[in-house]
Symmetry: D4
Subunit: 222 residues, 8 copies
C-alpha cells in the first residue's frame, strides 16, 4: 500500500480565525474515520460538534469515545467534550413551515447551543394558515437574526421577507415530493424571492444557517 500522511488534519485554529470551531460532517465517513478524528481531538482537549451522525453509526463508536458524546437523535448531532456554556438570552428565532422540518430546525438550534447562543423555535407556522404566522410575527420581529426553514414551495421565505426587516437566513428542506425535487424548489424560491435581501444556504443545511447566524452575531459589535 502507498505511503500516506495520517488521514485527518485538524484545523484547530479555525475558531480563532473565523469564529466557528471545526465540525465533523459524519455522513460520508466510516466509523473508523470518525473514531480517529475523535481520538485526535481528545488528545488536544478540544470539544467538537458532529453533524449528520446516524444513531446506528454513533452506537458503533468505541465505548470510550461514546461516554464523552452527547448525542441527539432528532437533529443527528453530537457534542464531543464540553462546549462553552451559554447563559445569554436567546438571540435567534428559528421559524419553520411544518413539523416535518423539525430535524433541520434542531440541527441549527444545536449548532447555536454548541457555540453558546440560545434560540427560540416557532414551528409549524406555514402560510397556508396565514393567521398562525401573523399571530407570532411581532414576537419574531424582536430577534436580531431569523432562520427560516421550509420545504415544498418555500413560500414562507417571501412572506416573512415582506414583513420583517431583520436578516433572514433561508434554509430549504427536502420535505416534499415530485417537482419539489428534494429541496431544489424551496432553495430556488428563497433565491428568486420577490422579497428583497433574503439569504440562502444549502438544502437541509441547518448547520450552515447557524454558522451564518454566528458570523452575524459575532460582528454586531464590530
Amino acid at each position: 500500500m502507498p505511503e500516506q500522511n495520517p488521514g485527518a488534519i485538524l484545523d484547530l485554529q479555525r475558531a480563532a480565525r473565523i469564529g466557528l470551531t471545526e465540525a465533523v460532517l459524519c455522513e460520508h465517513k466510516s466509523v473508523e474515520q470518525i473514531a480517529e478524528i475523535l481520538y485526535q481531538l481528545r488528545e488536544r482537549t478540544t470539544p467538537a460538534l458532529l453533524t449528520r451522525l446516524e444513531k446506528d453509526k454513533s452506537l458503533r463508536l468505541p465505548e470510550t469515545l461514546r461516554e464523552d458524546l452527547d448525542f441527539d437523535g432528532r437533529s443527528r448531532t453530537a457534542f464531543f467534550g464540553t462546549p462553552p456554556s451559554g447563559g445569554q438570552a436567546p438571540s435567534v428565532a428559528i421559524v419553520s413551515g411544518g413539523t416535518s422540518d423539525a430535524p433541520v430546525c434542531l440541527e441549527a438550534a444545536r449548532t447555536l447551543e454548541f457555540h453558546g447562543v440560545g434560540a427560540v423555535l416557532f414551528q409549524d407556522v406555514g402560510i397556508t394558515g396565514l393567521w398562525r404566522l401573523l399571530e407570532r410575527i411581532d414576537e419574531i420581529r424582536l430577534f436580531p437574526v431569523v432562520i427560516a426553514v421550509a420545504g415544498m414551495e418555500g413560500a414562507l421565505f417571501s412572506v416573512l421577507g415582506g414583513l420583517i426587516g431583520a436578516p433572514i437566513i433561508a434554509v430549504p428542506t427536502s420535505v416534499g415530493y415530485g417537482v419539489s425535487r428534494g429541496g431544489q424548489l424551496s432553495l430556488n424560491a428563497a433565491l428568486s424571492s420577490c422579497a428583497p435581501g433574503l439569504l440562502a444556504v444549502n438544502i437541509d443545511n441547518g448547520y450552515g444557517a447557524a454558522g451564518a447566524a454566528l458570523r452575524l452575531l459575532n460582528n454586531r459589535s464590530g
Copy 2:
C-alpha cells in the same frame, strides 16, 4: 416535391365537442401558413382567436385579411371575424403578482372575451406587500373562478390558496432571472404548494388558463 394534403385541416367541430373554438398558435408558423388558415376560416365564416402573434408578423399579413383582424399588441392576440358578444357580468378574477405579468394576464382576458366571458384584473398584488392582496381578498372571493398569474418564486399561489375556496388556476410566468429558470420555478411552486387543490397550466399560458376557466364555467350548470 412530394405530394401532400393541404397544409392545415381545421377542427371546426371542436366548439361543439369541447366548448372551445380552435385557436391559432402563431409562434412557430410562417406568415404564409397563418394566411392560408385565415383564408380557410373566412370561407367558412368561422371567427378565430390568434395567439402569440407578434406585431411584426401581423403587419406582414395580406391587407385583405388584416382588415378583419382585431389585434392587441400587449397580449399578442387577435380576433379574426366577430366573436360572440358577451354581455354577462364578469365571472373570472385574474390576480397577478406584478406589472411585468401583464401580457399573460391580458392573453387570458382576451381569450375569455373572445368566448363571451368577462374578467376583472387585480394586478400587482404580489405578497411582498401583503396588505395589497389582503385589501382586495374579499372582492376576489366573490368570483367562481380565479386565475392567478405570477413569476419568480410564485408565492402568490400558496397565499391565495390558503385564503379562498374557489378553484384557482395558477399561471406561472417567465418573469425573473437566474434560478427562476424561465418560469420553471414558479410552475413548480404552484404544483408543490402546501395549499391544497391548486391547479396549474404551462408557463406563460394565459390562453390555456382561460380555456380551463371556460371548461369550469361551462360545466357549472351541468
Copy 3:
C-alpha cells in the same frame, strides 16, 4: 435544548375558509409526530385525513389511536374519526391509463370519500388500445369533473382533452422508467398538451387532484 412552541399548530378553521379540512402528510413525519397530531385532533373531536401513510408506520402508532383509524393500504390513506357521510350520487370520474396507476387513483377516491363525494373509477383505458377509452367515453362525459391519471408519456390527457368538455384535472404518476424521469414526462405532457384547457397537479398527487375537484364542486352553485 432550546425553548419551543408545541411542534404542531392545527389549522382548524381551514374547512370554513377554503372548504377542505386539514390533511396530515405522513411521509416526512416520525411516528411520534403523527401521534402528537392525532392526540390534538382527538381532543378537539375533529376528524382528519392522513395521506402517504405506510403500513409499517401505521402499525407503530399507539393502540389507542389505531382503533380510531380506518387505514387503506392500497391508497396509503387513513381516516381518523368519522368523516361526514356522503350519500350523493358520484360526481367525479377517475380515468386511468393502466393498473399500475391504481394507488394514485385510490388516493383521490379516498380523499373525495372523506369529504362526502362519490367517484367512479375507469381504470386501464390507456390509449394504446384506444377502443377501451372510446367504449366508455359517453359515460365519462356525463360527469361534471374528470380526474385523469397516467404515467409514462401521459398521452391519455391529450386524447381525453380533445374528446370531452368537462374540466380535466391531470395527475401524472411516477409509473415508467428511463426518460419518464419519475413522472416528470407525464406532468409536462399534461402542461404542454395540444388539447386546450387541461389542468395539472404534482406527480402522484391524488390528494391534490381531489382537493381541486372539491373546489370545483363546492363552487358550482356559487
Copy 4:
C-alpha cells in the same frame, strides 16, 4: 499558423458501405467551409445533399456553385448536382401533428427524394381533433414505413403506435414553449410511449428519420 491537412475529407465510399450518401450539415459551418466542400465534390462529380442551410448563407456562396444548387427554403435543404431519379411509387408516409411541423416534414421528404424515394405527407392530423387522424388511418396503414412528426407533448406517436403495425419513426420537433423544453418533451414521449416498438431520432432531425427509412427500405428485399 500550424500545419494542417485540407479541412474536409470526403467519405465518398459511404453510399457503397451503408447505402446513404454523405450529407453536409451546414449549421455550424462557415460559407467558406461549405464552398470548399462543394468544390471538392464537383471535382469528383458527386452529387450531395445540404441540410440546415439558411437562405442567407446560401446566397453568400459563390455564383459558380449556386448555379448547381437546388435550394428549398422551407426545408432549409439543397441538392448539389443531380440526384438519382426516383420514379417509384411513394413508399413512406410522413404524418404530422400540426402545420408548424412542416419544415421538419419537408426535410425528411427532400432527403428521401434525393435518394430516389417518394413520400406522401399527411399533415395537421394531431390528436386533439382525433377524427382527422382516424379519417386517414387506413390510407396510412398501406405504407411500409411511417415517419411521425410532432412537437409539444407528442401524443400523436402513441396513438399511431396503437393503431398500425408498420415501423414508426418518431421525429420530435421543437414546436411548443415552456415545459416542452425545445422538443425534449416530445422526444421523451416517443421513447417512453406505452405503445410498443416505437423508434426515435433526435429533435427536429427530419434528415435522420429519412436516413433510417432508407435503411429499412434498402433491407426489405435483403
Copy 5:
C-alpha cells in the same frame, strides 16, 4: 370504497392490429394485480409475455399460476402459456458493448423468441478493443435487422452505424456511473450520432427494441 370497473382491461385484439401481443410490465404492479391479469389471460387461453418481473415477485405468485410460467432470471422475463413455435433461421443480430449489458440483450432476445423470431448475440464487442467488433462485422452485416446495446458513452452505436447499412435499433443501458446518468448519456449518443439513420428506444428497453424489430420484420414482405 368507490365503485370501479375490474382493474385490468386486456387489449386482446392488439396482435391482430399491430402484430405484437400485449405484454405485462410487472415493475409497478403488485403481486395481486399480476395474478389478476394472469387469471384473465388463462380464461381466454391467451399466452402472454411478462417483463421486468423480479424473481422474488414471481415466487410470490399463486402456485397454480407459476406452473404455467417459464421464468428467466437473467432477463427478468416470463412466458405465460405456450408462445408460437419459431423454427425460422435467426433474423436479428443483437450486438453489445460489454457483459454488463447482458440482461437487456436477453430481454430483447426473449421477446423475439416469444414472437417466434430467432436472434444471435454478439456480446462484449465494445469499441475500446476495436478488433473485437471488426472481426465479427461481416457476420453481423448479413442480418436484416441489428439491435445494438450499450451503456456508458454509447460509442458502439456510431461505429456500427458507419460500418453497416441495415436498420440499427440502439438500446442505451443504465450501465455506467457519474455523468453517464443512468443511461441518459448513451441514449443521447444514439440520438445525436454523426452516423446517419440510427434509431433509439428508451433506456434499458430491450422489450421495445424487439418490438420495433418485429415491426420491421413483419413489414418486409408487405
Copy 6:
C-alpha cells in the same frame, strides 16, 4: 377590453416595514409601464431605485422623467429623485474574482449608495493568483459585512470563507461558459462550500446582496 385596476400598486410603506425602499426591476417591463410607475412616484415625491435598466430603454422614457433620472450604464441602475445623503464611512467590502464581474459589483455598490451606505471595491482578486487576495485580506477583514462576487467555479467564496469571520454574502455571476451554466455552477459552489456559514443570493443579483447587507447593518445596533 376587461376592467382593471391601475397596473401598478406602489408599496410605499415598505421602507418603514423592512428598511428597504421599493425598487423597480425594469427587465420585464415595457417603457410605458416604467413611465407609469415613475409618474406615480413623482406625485408622491418618493425617490426610487431602478435596476436592470438597459440604456436603450432609459433613452425611450419621456424627457420630463429622464431629467430626474441619474442613470449609470455599467451597473444598469438609475436613481429617480434624490436619495438620502450618505456621509458615513464605508461599511461594506465588495470583493470580486475578475473584471468581468464589475457590472454586478457596481449594482450592489449603487444600491448601497442609494440607501446612504458606502462601499469599497476589491476587484480582480481571484484565487488563481492567490497572492492578490492575500495581499488585501487584512484590509477586507476590517469590514463588518463582505459581499463576494464571482463567476465560473466560484472558488473565491470558499477561500474567503476560510480566512475571515465576517458575514459573507456570495453573489454568483453568469460569467463563464460551457458547464458554468450561466452562473449555476458558481451559485452551487457558494451553497455547497466546505467553508461554514456562507450565504448566497440569486445569480447576478447585486441588488439582493446589497439588500441583505442593509438588513445586517440596520440590525447591528438592534
Copy 7:
C-alpha cells in the same frame, strides 16, 4: 434460448496497444459473470485489476478464485494474479480535500500500484484551512503528476492549479449533499476553473485518474 458467443471477450492486447491492462468494472456484473472472466484470465495466466468490487460480492466468488485475489475493502479493488513489481520511487502525488474522499484516493493508488507505480497521499488538505495545503505545497510541487481529489464545491482544484505547474488530474467525488448533486458540482468546478489547464475525469473515477497518470508517465521519455 438464442445462440450466443461466450459472454466475455478479453482484450489481451490492450496493454501492448495503450499501455494499460484490461480492468474489470464489477459494479454492474453478477458474481457469475465476474467468475467467468477470472477463469478465462487464469487460463491465460494474465493478472487483472478488479474495480468497484463490493466485499459481499467478493465473498461469493468461488473459493478457488478467491485464493488468488488480493482484495482491499477501502478502495473496493482487487488484484487477481501477480501484478508487476514496482520498485520505483513514487511519481504521483494524490492530494485530497477531506478524509471522506479516501476511497477514491485509494482506488487511484491501488491502480497505480498494480501497474508498478508508487504514489504519496496528501489527505485532508482542503482549502477551508488553507495553511494545511500551503504547508505541503513545496513537497507536492516535486511530483511530475498530481491527482487532486475533492467533493463538495471542489475549490481545491482551482487553488492547486494556481500554485503549481505540473499536470493536474482532477477527480471529483460524490461527497456532499443538496446542490453538490452527487459530484456534478465538483466536476463542473474542475472543468470551469479559472486556473488554466486543469484536466478532469468522471465522478469518483480514481481508476481513470490513475490510467491518465500512467499515460502521462509512459510518454515522458517518448
Copy 8:
C-alpha cells in the same frame, strides 16, 4: 460612486509559477475593460494572449492598441506583443471529428503557438468514415500529446483512446443540436468513456486543452 482599486490586477508572476502566461478572456469584458488591460500590459512590455475576442470588438479597440494586435478571426484569438519564437518540431497532434470543429482546434493551436510549441492538425477524421482515422493513426501515434476535438456524440474520444497510449485531452465542442445540448453530450462521452485514462476540459475550451498540453510538455523532462 464608491471608491475602488484599479479594475484589473495582472498576475504577471503566473508564467514563473505555473508555466503559463495570463490570458485575457474577452467574452464577458467590455471594449473599455480590454483596452485598460492592454495598456497595463504594454507598460510592462508583457506579451499576452487574448481569447474569445469577436472581430467586432477587436475593431472597436483604440488604433494605438490594434497595431500591436495579431488577430485571427477563425480562432477568435489575438497575440498582443511578440510571443516567444517557437522553432521546435511540432509536439502536439490536434485531431478533430469534423470541419465544424475548426474554430476550437485553431484556438488550441494558436495558444500553443503563443507559447512556442508547434502542432499538427488532423481534421475531419470522424468515425462515421472510420477509414479516415485508421489511415492516419500511425502518424498520430508518434506525438507525445494528443488533443482530440469533437462535438455531437463524441465517439471519436473512445475510438482514439482504444488505439493509442499517449495522453489524450478531449475537448468537447458545442457542434450539434437537440440532445447534444450545446456540447454537454460530447463532454460526458469523454468523461464516461469505456476507454481508460481519457482527460477532459470544458466545452469549446481549446485554450484550456492547450494549457494542459503545455503542463504535460513542461514536465516531461522533470
